[in-house]
Subunit: 277 residues, 2 copies
């Protein structure tokens, strides 16, 4: 194998690191791949780190020692996150989203890979530094969001079902009251999908009173799992809030079906931690 030039190494390393966030890559792996000295690899990594961090798009973390190496930590700085969320807010405010009953149509936003990838990176930044073994969401609309976040945190996604499916094996089921429909709902999670004692991040698309998220937390208690955070894309105020300390990206404060107006703002991500409801 031939020695790689620096220019080719930089392109290839950037690609390799971006494709596996949080994974520790030993410097020897790179040194062998490129037939280059570790000192050259270290210089390359310094250049990559400098570009990522000055662009606010992430950073490289170096771990010293025999078991050491380098890992890519994805990040999105608050300015960029605000730009993305301002755009989402603008699109959320489109009165054509209003459905009978005052519900909002969100499926178009939740189907756009560009937007999902950005939201995933925002959530990954918000919950960076926490020990996370898995991301939990509930079918159906939460799934793309959870998956987008999981790609940046490189942890598996577990999906809670509203109804039992034969393809899930044994399940644990809890009851919860859905805030939006005021009906009892069952939430089920396959027993084999989550190890006992896991640290779990909950991600969902929409939260009002938080009945569904409450149900997921109850379900996690059955697995003796620890909830390390709750992130929702759209929060809408409720008289009785069942959840504390969640992170919301946007807030829909009012849907006026008659006037066909939607009041939208940024979520509590931009507040200090203490101010979050």
């Amino acid at each position: 194998m031939e020695k790689w030039k620096r220019s080719a190494r930089l392109v290839d390393m950037t690609q390799q690191l971006l494709s596996q966030p949080y994974r520790l890559v030993p410097l020897t792996t790179f040194a062998e791949r490129y037939q280059s000295a570790k000192s050259s690899i270290s210089e390359d990594l310094a250049i990559i780190h400098e570009v990522f961090s000055s662009e606010g798009s992430g950073r490289l973390e170096t771990v010293a020692g025999a078991a050491g190496g380098v890992r890519y930590i994805p990040q999105m700085d608050l300015d960029h996150a605000r730009q993305v969320l301002d755009e989402i807010c603008e699109r959320l405010a489109n009165p054509e989203r209003i459905l009978p009953g005052g519900f909002l149509y969100l499926s178009d936003l939740l189907g756009e890979p560009w937007l999902l990838s950005h939201i995933g990176k925002i959530f990954a930044t918000a919950f960076a530094g926490k020990k996370i073994d898995a991301i939990m969401t509930v079918e159906t609309k939460g799934i793309p969001l959870a998956y987008a976040t999981a790609q940046y945190l490189q942890v598996p996604v577990v999906i809670v079902r509203y109804d039992y499916r034969v393809t899930e094996g044994s399940v644990v089921t809890v009851n919860t009251v859905s805030g939006s429909s005021r009906r009892m709902k069952q939430l089920s999670l396959s027993k084999r999908s989550l190890e006992e004692g896991s640290h779990v991040l909950i991600i969902d698309d929409f939260m009002k009173a938080g009945g569904t998220v409450r149900g997921m937390i109850d379900l996690l208690a059955e697995f003796k799992a620890k909830v390390v955070g709750v992130g929702v894309m759209v929060e809408t105020p409720a008289e009785e809030q069942l959840i504390d300390g969640f992170v919301s990206l946007t807030q829909v404060t009012e849907v006026d079906v008659k006037k066909r107006e939607i009041s939208v703002g940024l979520g509590n991500l931009f507040m200090e931690k203490e101010e979050r409801s």
Copy 2:
């Protein structure tokens, strides 16, 4: 703004291109961003293209002229795809996947971001060059696969539902016979999720007789949409096959519940097009 060094440009351009597959970026965008001559940008792009294509991980396509620019086309060469799918086959063959009734537990595989991202790239490679406006899948397990593929093709995902939800607005509903449960099922798609006449790629996790995919094709007919392809992760032979010309990544030929054995092989992706059932 300062002129960027080549090394920093290469890292940043690689990141930019990878994050937006198929999007045409004008050379002037790069030239202005880096305060560099177009000739230097062209040299950078040649280096990136060379690394991507020699690693079999994609290529850059240059479009000449005033409206021209460069776009990143993600690809995974067949050797690499085979490695990934061999690993998936090995994991599929684990007898612990066998559920009562001979069903297979797949949710763990469909929750792993690393694996999903690779499968997404394999599907994106298999259907590259086709005009695709949207990817369609059915809830629940198809969603992560569809989304992973959509990230590499940069097209939106539309999700077919088994039951009508208030948050979908008006829907079109068709009936279909599910092969695995031999029962009639309803499939619904929100009217506003797909424009009439769209070119649609169908992606799903599992296919036996193809009843669900058949239902999706019927649903697409209601939208006057064109099916440009069907891709499934796991195919299992059925006496009566309702679908022609699909692409499968793996094949589960037998699940012996008594002996606790699963027979798994590569799908028809590796066959010549004419040989596909």
